[in-house]
């Protein structure tokens, strides 16, 4: 039994300790917003926050998050210290109409939220270093616009 919190609620999961958090979220907890893309930490589709840090949940055994706070796309903007930043990121994402197929987007939005929650004025280089996720549809140009806008909104303190 592994115990942790997901989006502010306690979760008790009866899964093998080496089962990746990604599959625990999707199969055991019914939280399917976090996506599977590669399973080897190469694409970032599975990005979630663990105690506020962006991690790739496909390579994070559930035992590692025992006692920790996990935030997924379902709760990112609802709950936790990053919620206001996540709201700003999501608003900017909608304004810039970033998604195409949308499959990679929860991972990007989560990674962008983690970055902006820790660094309110990231440089272009810092953004590029933090967002190493992959998007096959090529939404990067719109994402750049959204990221600039999200920085603006976070600095103004609006979600």
């Amino acid at each position: 039994m592994t115990r942790f919190t997901v989006n502010g609620r306690p979760a008790d999961v009866d899964a093998p300790p080496d089962k990746p958090l990604l599959w625990v979220l999707r199969e055991d907890l019914g939280l399917v917003g976090t996506k599977y893309g590669c399973g080897i930490a190469a694409c970032g589709a599975c990005t979630v926050l663990v105690d506020g840090q962006a991690v790739r949940s496909c390579v994070t055994p559930v035992s590692e998050v025992a006692g920790k706070r996990v935030s997924t796309i379902e709760g990112l903007a609802e709950e936790g210290p990053q919620a206001a930043v996540a709201q700003a990121v999501q608003r900017a994402w909608i304004e810039a109409q970033v998604p195409q197929c949308g499959y990679c987007q929860p991972g990007f939005i989560t990674a962008a939220t983690a970055l902006l929650a820790q660094n309110r004025a990231p440089t272009e280089a810092e953004i590029e270093a933090a967002l190493t996720n992959l998007c096959r549809c090529g939404t990067y140009p719109a994402m750049r616009v959204a990221l600039r806008r999200a920085v603006e909104l976070t600095q103004k303190g609006q979600g």
Binding site: A15, P16, K19, P20, W23, E27, D28, G30, V32, G33, T34, K35, Y36, G37, C38, G39, I40, A42, C43, A45, T72, I73, E74, L76, A77, Q90, W93, I94, Q97, V98, P99, Q100, C101, G102, Y103, C104, Q105, P106, I109, I127, E128, A129, L131, T132, N133, L134, C135, R136, C137, G138, T139, Y140, P141, A142, M143, R144
Partner: protein, 762 residues
């Protein structure tokens, strides 16, 4: 498989082998006659005036979209077309996936058969079999005929109904944001109030859609309907399907993982488990011709169990093919080899001339050795790699079959499931969730067959079968390896006299159809997709020939975003740059001169060149600028790429494009599609190849089949040229010019001519 299914699939296949595209006429929606009388199910107080939308009592417009959205924005785009004709307020418009019905057939994708003589027949075929299909960048063009005219007809009867109720002349009424108004009296009422009356009236036979000058929504980019859910993470993809009665993990949904034999072709002969039996997590084993699936309560556990299985491959069809061997045989075919003994992997090539004019043979014979110029090019196999790995959820219960799958042709999914489960088509419900990318990958049916095979052994419990990324990369239906030999001759004045494009590669359509139904793997008509982007060039020469040698490969191939246009633009637009270099001409001016008879292409080229400031100096050493122009899917794109090469490493800095797709109905989405397509083309040019060794694919995941990242992504600018010409496609057209423009830029920066993808500078 039922005989009738075979026949229907054959008709689809014969049509798909075409690939050239035709725009549907204004009366397209009426061609379907009876089918157009279809009305989707409605709730209390709702009215459907056509197959494509309904009005709700609170004056909302719900559009039924019979195409699949894989990121191209088609759901929202088609809703926008309907909303425009009805002058609806965008905030009151929603869209849903339509069910399966012949009324929703994509008549364009089928009617655009290969030889023009067959097109009429294929339109009839499309009507008869009514295939709903998304592909060939046809959705908007098809809807432009059908949905738009149907909406215009509905508008007409709604206004008539209001006029009758108010006893006012219809010509005095106007619709604004979903409200019917009579300006003089100030009377106003929501459109939905007249829906029931309107439904009793006959739709006019030839309605007049609004002229572009009167558009309010089209030509703008309102918030795409799918975007808020995708941003909030609540959009449900195939892999997220949780059939309603299976909210708990113990009683409901089961998961299947699948592993194919290591070879790209061969048979599964045996499965060996350590200790002679599968691990306890495995509830069922299901074997196919070349795959093994295991079912468990968790996909992760199923996948982990598969890791212990040893799949023994063999059989008569087992292949040991390698990319190097294929390359050598391709080269021999270009040199004229026809002897199947010397072409063990390919067999005897079928040689065809797809187009010719002038007198190519004489031009070749007349040209002295030094007045000839020839270069060989090649592209490798490529995988599609949509971000959402292939998956399918199936349930077979009480004679009913449910299939949840991100697909590009629900009608064909329905036929397939009916055939596999031996039930009538009506017993099959196909649910199409959001597609996490398609790019041609989701035409394939194998994952559906596998999921159905699994659902047969679970006593009515639904099964979700997911391919790992490794399976996706190692068992795709690849964009084919193709090699080309480009030849030009010069006349006495030093101008280009002959343009000859010779290439060797497989018929992708034959491979696709052969997998849909092995009974169809026979002789095929010429596959125009092989030569699209090569057989009709906007450039004019005195002598022209486009030749293709079709070979059979032991490797499955498939449609890959932009299909033949993707590699042919690379051959054509690199070669023309080479000629400009040989002729000491500016690559832009030479192209411009050759476009004397193609004013639309010329305008697009000029727009790109001027937006990019073609002649403006580059920032410094190591920079280069390159250009390419390509028509595909009836649209024209010119692209100027700036690169900086530092220590042999290519950095793409800027991509400036101009696009003429007739009219940009949603300019923001056109820009997004051009950038997305270009990124896919640049990624292929810079990074990727699927390599075969000993019958296996070498690459296995995103670490060795990498994709472009945010940091590597260039700055994009896109100019839209609204020529007003017939609508062209948008979803694939960004791909073709990207690789050649990049290669030409690298040449400008380094003097190194890259004739093979992926580009290697060292």
């Amino acid at each position: 498989m039922a005989r009738s299914l075979t026949r229907r699939l054959f008709l689809v296949g014969s049509a798909l082998v075409g690939g050239a595209l035709v725009v549907g006429g204004g009366l397209a929606w009426r061609r379907l006659d009876g089918a157009a009388r279809h009305r989707p199910a409605t709730g209390p107080g709702e009215t459907a005036l056509t197959p494509w939308f309904k009005l709700t009592p609170d004056n909302r417009l719900v559009v039924f979209v019979p195409r699949q959205d894989m990121g191209q924005g088609i759901l929202s785009m088609l809703a926008q077309i309907v909303a425009e004709e009805l002058d609806f307020d965008w905030a009151r418009v929603t869209a849903e996936q339509a069910g399966i019905h012949p009324a929703y057939a994509n008549t364009i994708v089928l009617a655009d058969g290969s030889p023009p003589a067959l097109r009429g027949m294929m339109e009839n075929v499309a009507k008869l079999i009514g295939v709903q299909m998304t592909g060939g960048s046809t959705s908007v063009r098809d809807a432009w005929g059908a949905m738009r005219h149907a909406a215009a007809a509905a508008r007409a009867v709604l206004v008539e109904a209001a006029a009758a109720r108010w006893q006012l002349p219809a010509s005095d009424l106007a619709i604004e944001r979903g409200i019917v108004r009579h300006a003089a009296s100030g009377r106003a009422a929501p459109l939905a109030e007249f829906a029931t009356d309107a439904a009793a009236r006959a739709l006019p036979g030839s309605p007049t859609p609004k002229p572009p000058a009167a558009w309010r929504l089209l030509g703008t980019s309102p918030l795409r309907l799918d975007i808020p859910d995708k941003v909030r993470g609540v959009a449900r993809f195939g892999i997220d399907v949780r059939p309603q009665d299976t909210t708990d993990t113990t009683g409901g949904l089961l998961y299947a993982a699948v592993r194919h034999i290591p070879l790209v072709r061969g048979e599964l002969q045996d499965v060996r488990w350590p200790g002679g039996k599968p691990p306890p997590a495995v509830l069922h084993e299901v074997r196919g011709r070349d795959w093994l699936a295991v079912i468990a309560k968790s996909w992760w556990e199923a996948e982990r169990a598969l890791g212990q299985a040893e799949l023994v491959a063999g059989g008569a069809s087992a292949t040991t093919v390698s990319s190097a061997r294929l390359r050598a045989q391709y080269r021999a075919v270009l040199d004229g080899e026809d002897d199947p003994k010397k072409l063990p992997d390919l067999g005897r090539p079928i040689r065809r001339v797809f187009n010719a004019y002038g007198d190519p043979d004489r031009a070749l014979a007349a040209a002295a050795e030094k007045a000839r110029f020839s270069a060989d090019y090649a592209v490798p196999f490529l995988a599609h790699v949509p971000m959402e790995p292939l998956n399918c959820t199936a349930r077979i219960r009480e004679g009913k079959v449910d299939v949840w799958v991100g697909n590009q042709a629900p009608t064909i999914v329905q036929w397939l499931a009916a055939g596999v489960c031996d039930v009538p088509a009506e017993a099959v419900t196909v649910h199409t969730p959001w597609l996490g990318g398609g790019f041609g990958r989701r035409f394939d049916l194998e994952v559906i067959r596998q999921a159905l095979a699994c659902a047969k052994v679970t006593d009515g419990r639904p099964v979700q079968l997911i391919w790992s990324r490794r399976e996706d990369i190692q068992h795709d239906a690849y964009r084919p390896m193709v090699a080309a030999r480009m030849t030009a001759t010069f006349d006495a004045a030093g101008q280009i006299a002959l343009w000859q494009h010779e290439m060797v590669g497989p018929s992708v359509s034959k491979s696709v159809m052969g997998r849909m139904n092995p009974m169809l793997a026979g002789d095929y008509p010429p596959d125009v997709t092989n030569a699209e982007g090569a057989m009709h060039l906007p450039y004019r020469f005195a002598h022209f020939r486009c030749r293709h040698a079709q070979v059979d490969l032991p490797v499955p191939t498939g449609y890959w975003r932009s299909v033949g246009n993707g590699y042919n633009a690379f051959f054509v637009e690199t070669f023309i740059d080479e000629l400009a270099q040989a002729m000491k001409r500016d690559p832009y001016l030479l192209r411009r001169e050759l476009l004397a008879e193609a004013p639309r292409h010329r305008a697009v080229l000029e727009a790109a060149v001027s937006a990019a400031r073609w002649n403006a100096p580059l920032p410094g050493m190591g920079w280069g600028r390159g250009l390419a122009l390509a028509e595909s899917f009836k649209s024209i794109v010119a692209m100027v790429v700036d690169v900086e090469v530092i220590d042999q490493k290519v950095h793409v800095r800027r991509v400036v494009s101009a696009v003429d797709c007739g009219r940009a109905l949603d300019p923001g989405n056109v820009r997004a599609q051009i950038a997305g397509g270009a990124i896919m083309g640049l990624t292929a040019a810079l990074k990727d190849a699927i390599t075969l060794e000993e019958g296996r694919v070498v690459q296995s995941n995103l670490h060795d089949y990498p994709l472009m990242t945010l940091a590597e992504c260039p700055h994009f600018e896109t100019v839209i040229v609204n020529s007003g010409a017939a609508l062209g496609g948008v979803g694939e057209i960004g791909v073709p010019p990207a690789a050649p423009a990049l290669g030409n830029a690298i040449f400008a920066a380094t003097g190194k001519r890259l004739r093979e993808m992926p580009f290697r500078l060292t």
